[in-house]
Assembly symmetry: C2
Homo-oligomer: 77 residues x 2
């Protein structure tokens, strides 16, 4: 089964959403990527349609923006 | 296990998010509530912290606003 990818940037909103998502979906079914630290994955996230973090990219290629922590412009600084 | 509740109002963004969430979490683990039709549940949603739809209320009582379909003011008309 393909995993979802949870993109975040370490913000409080991100951490809170991450806990919920991991609990709901299961930690084995979601890859967590901190794009504030793992900056070479910012392009990948943007190409997938991520406009803000936290966001969940599902195995279907859909992006669910969860609440609002920071825009991608903020992440890129 | 307690269920999550997915609140929506039938908008295209809502329907798309619903399909993803049901697939990720499992239809037996999420109750889907159309508050545009089931209007007596609007208060319950607002009291839980739902500001816009689609939104997922987790068993922990956290609200995840998923993308943005409509504000609660729009839903209430």
């Amino acid at each position: 089964m393909q995993k979802s990818i949870f993109y975040h940037a370490g913000c409080p909103v991100c951490v809170s959403a991450e806990q919920e998502i991991v609990q709901l979906i299961g930690s084995d079914r979601v890859e967590v990527v901190h794009i504030g630290e793992d900056r070479n994955r910012i392009d990948e996230a943007e190409n997938a349609g991520v406009k803000s973090v936290p966001a969940l990219l599902t195995p279907n290629g859909q992006v669910l923006h969860l609440n609002f922590g920071a825009s991608m412009a903020d992440v890129k600084g």
